[in-house]
Symmetry: C2
């Protein structure tokens, strides 16, 4: 039997496009001799559709798409994913389902049992868990078909009481197929291989695993679909960050011939780079936009976003706006212009002094002689936001946000100022990772100007300002933040690791009181196991522990 | 037996304050001769603590608080709510629990079985559902103690397969107690009485129900704790929107003597009014702030927010900023000043012309001779945001957002402009409800100037602009929006109700393409069954149905 894995990029709610893509892939696989084409979880509607699933019209359109796909699936079989109505009155109204379709008929329907609800997941909000399980017979094989999380309950602290494979194994299946929507994080590729390999060993079965690829606002899918033998040995790993359809010849319980393992030899930074490029690209493509604007300061973060956007959208579609103030240093303009030249994007220079002076004059009767402070600093950052948003409103550019994760964490940014933007490109990338990313982008030739990388970071909102005036060095800060954000450690536990006590208390307090700012931040491209945004839900009004 | 219901206002994560409040209430009830004091669901930590529950330190502080409460609970019993660790390795790590404490000892622990995960709820994200149930014996009574949603599975389309009361009723309890965290919506009071009354009739048992009161950022609890007899007759309803401890004498299976039913005779608008006042007040009190700032346009929405804020915080703590532009009409200033006088708050007049002109000049080299459009309109709205945020940054005022639900729905507002603010006061109040709210506030004397109520709504961002230039009349718009937002109807279903087809398509499209704006809106005080914010999760990048 020839099994095709169709690792494709779907568009949430775009039934027309998703259905055409599925039907074309079936046709393509059939022409290559495949017996079965496997698509990812909820492929018909895209993932995650969140509350669109609560519209009955949405579920009905899923059904109609599945009908079209069923009709077109002749002389071949396929597995697709979609929400289906729960026929019972008790329980939630939907199942997260897989249809096994053969020769124009739905041969079997499988429902997902383990519904993730942590981090970015909300599946139990919509779906009733499956309680019955049975294998599917096809071409003398017995397939144990499961959906994503159904194979993930295999660790020392299992989240769920149910074990779908424990039921399925009783029917003596000959292989496992798992359809997934498993989001990217820089550490996810290794975890995925371990968990799935454990399943193969535990059940002594080979496994075909197909994942989504592509970005859905903040959530990025890397693909990396997998094939294992019954001993859990990794036979093949499909492409990262691009669509691919690959066919495997499965005979006598073995994958008979396959292209040698091409384990995508990417380190974390390479993966983050590719994820961010795909994240930007899909945000624009799927929203129907093509042109981006951003404020370019001469610093490393905006330089990175500019380079990534140029890679994703083409430099001709990127407009960098330099907005010097009286506190900008000469090298800032030069470094920004060097970047523009290296990247080849468009640029404008719009100084903000006139607007900043206007606000100074307007506020004088109220501010009187109160000293220059964060109010005046923020006025500058907000004047810049007005300029880039005016470019956006006048010309249809979409504003990219350039805040990094370290800044987002400690609230080192101006709400409605540099925190503005449609999508946060670096909001899940710590400052120390930004440096590594810059060096990676510069691996063949200088794109990010060396000076942007080596100079001390500064917001340049008052004379001689440096980030290090109010923040610890980033290598210390980032390690500290990782303990609190990613690992959810208490201040006591972090101090016990050797961090300075007063520093820990100061930084954790900064993180906590910035919740109200992050609530209004743009969606952030998620590349880590714990990104700010939908996967981290902290009360705004509350008393924090630290 | 005397049962006290302690309907109190807790502060998420403020263990010190919550614990003191619980201990004081126990002491108070004991002095009044109570045998048992009942506190609401998760009273020890506040509700909803969301991802704070993922910090082990948070759960440990709950345990320590419960120890203190247990220690202080002598010669009386109490029921408190808190998260407790799940001792089994399989399943989620926490239960949503109630402790029954008597004479310094924990006598029983009850876990919640039905974990709501719709709308604003995320409980299955943290908690393992209970599967075992037993009654608690106390003073010759057998109590069927349940937690909130555990009594809510009683309708024609039950969400859950489990039925905790079906297990408990087998032990022949003599009364039901339910501890709740059931958020306010203007239609919730009636639904709550119906559901709970149904339980009494179904199980032929009296019921004591205690709810939270107070606001937690966007989520507002109205209190309204209830007592029913075994036939489902409502015996008493406690106060709305304020703390109350009330004692009931329960003898021979009957509530023997009680103050007569004081069903808080509030219509929807009165409830919304009180909810918004409490929402503002608690946002400030629990955040440690006291002073609010807002932009006052002369229109009805900002007038309403100003009046509500003055009621919540005291007029002396409200700063209204008038920011006329060249497009502001004379009556706008007059109407705003009338409101300031009626409310008695502080005000400043800061015209924005100088800043708007500065941006015009700055953008001229890029905009050239392109005609005035939304770009220039938004510049004005954003200049106003800079002014009020400068007031905030310089003087510590917290900015109140004044956008109403109709505007939020169709995206009729400027991101980083009039959409700015720490908390959205009217974001869940449709424009037509705003008029009713204004009339209610004016019920005794004119506070909202009559002219702000009767004049045609306008953003005044270009000469002679009126909302009706780009939006349908609000009474049509709001009815249409209700069908789409609250009822999740399809465009076809809405058109079938008699709405104009092209209007429906235009409005639904406006709602859809404003998702990216709403993502960055402030948290909105929730007063309806479907508010924008955490209870409505729609993909930003997706293809919408309408």
């Amino acid at each position: 039997m020839k099994i095709a894995l169709a690792q494709l990029n779907f568009h949430i709610g775009n039934f027309d496009s998703n259905t055409k893509k599925i039907i074309a892939a079936i046709q393509d696989a059939k022409e290559q001799g495949a017996d079965l084409v496997v698509f990812p979880e909820l492929s018909v509607c895209g993932y995650p559709a969140i509350d669109l699933l609560e519209f009955t019209e949405f579920v009905e359109l899923c059904r109609l798409s599945a009908e079209q796909i069923t009709e077109s699936c002749q002389d071949i079989a396929c597995i697709i994913g979609l929400p289906t109505p729960n026929p019972k009155v008790q329980g939630k109204d939907l199942f997260n389902s897989a249809l096994f379709i053969e020769n124009g008929h739905v041969k079997a329907v499988v429902h997902k049992a383990l519904l993730p609800n942590y981090d970015v997941f909300d599946e139990y909000r919509y779906f009733e868990p499956a309680t019955k399980f049975s294998c599917i017979e096809f071409k003398d094989q017995k397939i144990a078909l499961t959906i994503c999380e159904d194979l993930w309950n295999i660790n020392d602290n299992p989240l769920y009481l149910a074990e779908p494979m424990e039921a399925l194994i009783k029917e003596s299946p000959s292989l496992m197929i798992n359809i997934a929507a498993s989001p990217f994080a820089y550490n996810h590729d290794e975890e995925r291989v371990l968990i799935l390999s454990d399943n193969c060993r535990k059940y002594n079965l080979p496994l075909f695993y197909v994942n989504h690829v592509g970005a859905q606002t903040e959530i990025i899918f890397d693909g990396g679909s997998l094939v294992f033998d019954e001993e859990g040995a990794l036979l093949d790993e499909m492409a990262y960050f691009r669509e691919e359809i690959k066919i495997y010849d499965f005979v006598d319980g073995k994958v008979q011939s396959y292209t040698p393992v091409v384990h995508n030899p990417q380190n974390d930074i390479e993966q983050i780079h590719d994820a961010l490029v795909m994240g930007i690209k899909d945000y624009f493509t799927k929203s129907g936009f093509s042109k981006a604007v951003l404020g370019l300061s001469g610093g490393i973060d905006s330089a990175l976003v500019c380079a990534l956007a140029a890679k994703a959208l083409g430099p001709e579609n990127v407009m960098a706006v330099l907005m010097p103030s009286e506190y900008s240093t000469d090298h800032s303009i030069k470094d920004a212009l060097d970047l523009v030249r290296n990247v080849g994007c468009k640029h404008e220079i719009i100084p903000i002094k006139e607007a900043a002076t206007a606000f100074e004059n307007m506020m004088r009767p109220v501010f009187n002689d109160l000293p220059f402070n964060v109010a005046e600093e923020n006025i500058q950052a907000r004047c810049r936001a007005i300029v880039v948003m005016a470019m956006s409103n006048k010309f249809g550019y979409i504003l990219l946000n350039t805040s990094n994760k370290s800044e987002c964490a400690v609230g080192y940014g101006t709400l409605y100022g540099d925190m503005a933007g449609a999508i946060g490109v670096l909001g899940d990338v710590y400052k120390t990772q930004c440096y590594k990313l810059a060096n990676y982008i510069n691996r063949e030739r200088e794109i990010i100007p060396e000076n942007s990388i080596i100079k001390p970071p500064s917001a340049e909102l008052r004379p001689g300002q440096k980030d290090s005036d109010s923040l610890p060095e980033y290598d210390v800060l980032d390690r500290l933040l990782f303990q609190y954000i990613e690992l959810k450690k208490s201040s006591a536990a972090i101090i016990a690791q050797g961090f300075d006590e007063s520093l820990v208390r100061r930084v954790l307090k900064m993180v906590n009181i910035a919740e109200f700012k992050r609530k209004q931040a743009p969606p952030i491209l998620r590349v880590s196991p714990k990104a700010f945004g939908m996967g981290r839900r902290i009360p705004i009004v509350g008393k924090y522990l630290s």
